[in-house]
Symmetry: C2
Subunit: 120 residues, 2 copies
């Protein structure tokens, strides 16, 4: 299965999802699928958060709290889930505030290996 097909399948399963993507820590998306009108700049949001994820990872290492797995950021309008896939990649879901966060979180976790295989 191509990464695009996989991501498209994932976004269709999550109510209120605006975008799903696989990204490198250099903030460049390997691929991404968008849906609906979020009313804010999803692209810019992801790139900015990718910078933050690196900061947090550094902190987690220094503190010794084990490898980072996931970050969820909730604002008045949106929810974003960032999931570490490996040392080079992370996957993200952007949803509306009332979207199905639990389902999005599950799909990122369940499809981590499949995403890697899709780009090999």
């Amino acid at each position: 299965m191509s990464l695009r097909t996989l991501l498209s399948g994932m976004i269709q399963q999550v109510e209120g999802a605006y975008a799903v993507m696989l990204m490198g820590y250099d903030c460049i998306a390997i691929d991404e699928v968008h849906l609906g009108r979020p009313g804010f700049d999803v692209q810019m949001m992801t790139v900015e958060y990718a910078t933050v994820i690196k900061e947090i990872q550094r902190t987690v290492e220094v503190v010794g709290a084990g490898d980072m797995e996931e970050i969820t950021i909730t604002t008045k309008q949106s929810c974003m889930i960032l999931r570490v896939i490996n040392e080079e990649l992370f996957a993200a879901f952007v949803l509306s505030r009332d979207g199905n966060v639990g389902k999005a979180r599950y799909l990122l976790r369940a499809n981590a290996l499949t995403m890697i295989k899709a780009i090999e």
Copy 2:
């Protein structure tokens, strides 16, 4: 009710909780209550994450995704929930990886106003 009493009551209700605190964005805790042995430096973790929260808040403003409400950071050993209380304060719960995250999240939300009143 004093803030200390309130925080103590909160931490007792959450299985797997290591710490609960009310903090300023200057990374100084108004008050905090600890429990158990997390095996990592909770204090340092919170201070570092407080810096990150400011970064994220700036991003959220720039992107226009509405005011920030909550950040959850999950690592292999721990889970930390940071909840914005107002422009000056945020509250945080630090838990073990298998702690009751849902309950901690609920308590931070439900006690936001009570925490502010406790320090007035």
